[in-house]
Symmetry: C2
Subunit: 466 residues, 2 copies
Amino acid sequence: MKKIMSFAALPLLALSPAFATVPPTPPDPAAALRDAALHGDDLAWDITEGLTTEVGQRLAGTEAEARARDWAVRRLTELGFSNVHIEPFDMPVWVRGAEHAEIIAPFPQSLVVTALGNSGATPAEGIEARVVGFNSVEELEAAPDEIVRGRIVFINHAMAPTQDGSGYGVFGAPRRQGPTVASRKGAVAIVVRSVGTDHHRNPHTGVQTFGDGARPIPAGALSVPDAEQLQRILDRGREVRMRLTLTPRFTGTHPSGNVVADLPGSDPSAGMIIVGGHLDSWDLGTGAIDDASGVAIVTAAAHRIMQAGQPRRTIRIVWFGAEEQGGLGGRALFEAHHGRDHVVAVGESDFGADHVWRVQHNLAPQNEALGARIRALLMPLGIVPGAGRASAGEDLGPWARAGVAAIDLDQDGTRYFDYHHSPDDTLDKIDPAQLRQNVAAWTAWLAVLANAPEEIGGVPPVGGGE
Amino acid sequence: MKKIMSFAALPLLALSPAFATVPPTPPDPAAALRDAALHGDDLAWDITEGLTTEVGQRLAGTEAEARARDWAVRRLTELGFSNVHIEPFDMPVWVRGAEHAEIIAPFPQSLVVTALGNSGATPAEGIEARVVGFNSVEELEAAPDEIVRGRIVFINHAMAPTQDGSGYGVFGAPRRQGPTVASRKGAVAIVVRSVGTDHHRNPHTGVQTFGDGARPIPAGALSVPDAEQLQRILDRGREVRMRLTLTPRFTGTHPSGNVVADLPGSDPSAGMIIVGGHLDSWDLGTGAIDDASGVAIVTAAAHRIMQAGQPRRTIRIVWFGAEEQGGLGGRALFEAHHGRDHVVAVGESDFGADHVWRVQHNLAPQNEALGARIRALLMPLGIVPGAGRASAGEDLGPWARAGVAAIDLDQDGTRYFDYHHSPDDTLDKIDPAQLRQNVAAWTAWLAVLANAPEEIGGVPPVGGGE
C-alpha cells in the first residue's frame, strides 16, 4: 500500500462522454459489471487478506497447505459456489532446514542465504571451501572443471525489472541450471545471486531440479546486497573462503491437492471455462502476490458473474496445489480432466496483483468478434492488446498448449521480482486499487465468454499439446 | 544507488551567473573547495565501501569492532593525518543469540523477530504465552497489571517518515521504555513493532535499558510486516498464543575505543575543531548509513582541508566506538579531554548519507559573520538555515551542551528509518552523488571555521553542561 500509483482516475477519464467524438455505440452489457468491480470490489482483498493472515505460508505438501485447502473449501462454499471439493495428489516434500553463510577469509562476516528448492544438504556444522565466482551459467559451463572441483560456486548476475517479467527467463538460469552444472563439474555447493530486483537482505528461493544424473549439492540464494558484497570481496583478488550451512531434507511423499469449485452454467453443451491461480506458496513469505491474490482475483470475478445471474457456460475455479514445485497441481488437473470435460477457455492469474497492462488471447479466428469485445472492454482500464499468443501459466498452460482458447491478462511486473519467492511477499505489497482493476478486467472477459451465444472454438495445439 | 534523486544539476543551476540579478560579491575562497568536493570527491565513497566490505558489521566491544579500529588506524595514517591513535575504554558486551517467534494459535505461522539491545533471554526452547497488544507505552502503562502478568506484551505503532527524523523520538518509546514497563507489570516478554518506516521483513534492533530495577525480560522487535500481521491476528478477537525464542547474552567486559586523528593547525592557541561519526555498528547490517558514511564524510572533508594547505586551527577527527550502546565512546572522549583541550567547535555526522537539507549552528553572537558565511556557502547546495539550536549528536553532544559552538548539517531522513538498525543497512543504500553533497557541505564549514582569523567563542551551556 506504499509507493503505488492510483488507478482511481483512469477509467473515469477514459469513459467520460466528453471524449466521445464519434457517435457512441451502445454500451456493452459487461461494462457495468466491470465498473462495479473496479469501484466496489472488496472480495479479492478479503480473500487475499484472509488466506495470508489465517493460514500464512503454505508450502506444498505440508500441513500448512492442507490447512489452506480447508480454508479454501470453507470460503468457496460460503460464497455459494457448487461442487466444492479437493482433488488430491501425492508429491515428494522438501522442507527447509538451518541456513547460514559466512565469509571466513579474507574479511570474516555473515551473509544472508536461503536454500533453493530441492537443494542438497550440508552436514549440520556446514562445509568450508574456497569460493569461485562466475557471471553466468555459460561462464560456469565454459570453465575448466579443475577450478570448480571442491569449491563453492557463486554465480552473480544483474536482473533488472521489466514490465512483462521477461527478465525472469534469462536471469533465472543461474537458479534453475546452475546447481546441476556446478554439481557435474565437482563443486561442493553453489550460491547464486537471488533472482530478484530489490536491494533488501531478503533472499529469493525457487525451485531447481538436479538433472542429467547430477548429484544433489547444497544450493542457495544470497540476497542481492549479500551477492554484491561477495562480488566486491572477490574483486579484491584474494582467496575467499566460505562456510555454508544448509540442512534441508525430503520428508517423503505427502498429499497435496487442487481445490475445485463451480459456477454451473445453464447450457452444459456450451463447454466450461477454467480459471485459476495457486493456493500453495513458498515458505518464506505469506504468498500474498504469489499467489493468494491470483486465486482471489479469479474467484472475485467469477463471484460477480454469479451475482449477475446464471451464465450460459460453467465457470470452474481451481486453486491449484504445488505450483511452486513445478506445476504439479496443474498437471494433475489436466491428466484427470483433459478429454473428459469440454473445456473451451482457460485463464490463470499468477503474476501478482499490480494492474493488468496487457491482454493477449488466442481465440479461434471465428471468435474474433468476441476478442474485439474483450479488447474494447479492457481498454478503459488502460489495458493494451498484445501481439503474442496467450499461454496461460504454469498450471493451465497444458490446456492452452493442447489447443484450448486462452486469455492472458498480464499484470505489471515492474516490482514483482522485488518480492517474489522472498520473505517480503506479504499483504502490505498488495494495492487494493490495483487489485480491483484486476477483478474488473477478469469480470469483463468472463462476462463475455461465459455468456457468448456463439460456440467457442479451439486453436491449433502447440507442439501437439502436452 | 536506486530510486534516488540526483543532485548533479542543483548547484550548477544555483551558481549560474544568469541568476545573478544583483552585483556579484567576490566568491568566498571556500566555494572552490566546496565545489571540488561536490563534483569530484571519491574518498568518502572509498571509506564507506572499504569499511563495510572489508570489515562488515562491527558490534561494539567485539573482535569485529577491534578489526574496524585497526582498519581505521591504517586508513587514517595512509591519508596523512597525524597523531593517529586509539583511545580505549571498557564496556559490558551484549551479543545476539537464536531468535524465533511463532504464532501457535489461532493461526500457526512464523514471525520475523530480532532481540533489542540488552534484551533478556528465554530458555533455549523458548517460552510460550498469550499475547496482549497495546498501541503505545502509555496504553501499556495504563493497563491493569493482571492483563499483562504472565503474558507476552506487543506494542504496535505507526511511525511515518519525516525529513528531520523527529518521528524517532516519539515512536522510539515502545523500544526504549516498553521493555521496562512490561517487565515491571509482570510480562514474561515483550515484542514491539520495529521502529522503522519500511515494509520489509527486516526487523530493526536498537538499544534499550531496563530501568528502575526492572528485571530483564526477553525483548524483541518484529519486522513491520510481521507486526501488521500480528495486529491483524489480534484484531480477530481470539486468544493469540506465541512461542518466542531469544537467547542473547552478556559476554563480560571487553575493550572498545575511539580512533583519533589530527590535522594539526598552525596556531595551537586558536583552539581545535572536533568532527566525528561512529565506527561501531549494529550486528545485523554492515552499518553503511549508520555510520560508515558519517566517519567517511567528516574524514573526506578534513582531508580536503589538509590538501588545501595547513589550516589555522587543528581539526581532530574521531571515529567513535560503542555509540549504539548509548554513546559510550562520546562520553569517554569528553571525560578524557574536556577541560584539557581547547575545543572551539564540534560537528557530528550520524544520520546517513542522503543530502544535507538544513544547517543549524549555535555560534556565539560575536561570530555571526562566520555563520553568515557558512549559510551563504551552503545555500548553493540546496541547504536551508534552520531556526533551532545545534546539538551535535550522541557522541559530540556533551561538548555542545557544555557550551562549545556546534554546527549541525541535517541530512534528509525521509528514508533513513527504512534501513536504520536493520539488516538492510548496507552499501547499496548509499547514493554517491548525495554522499558528495555531504562532503561539499562539510568542507565548506570546516574551511570557514578552521581558517577564521577571529576567535571562535563559546555559547551558554545547556542545563549547565554535562
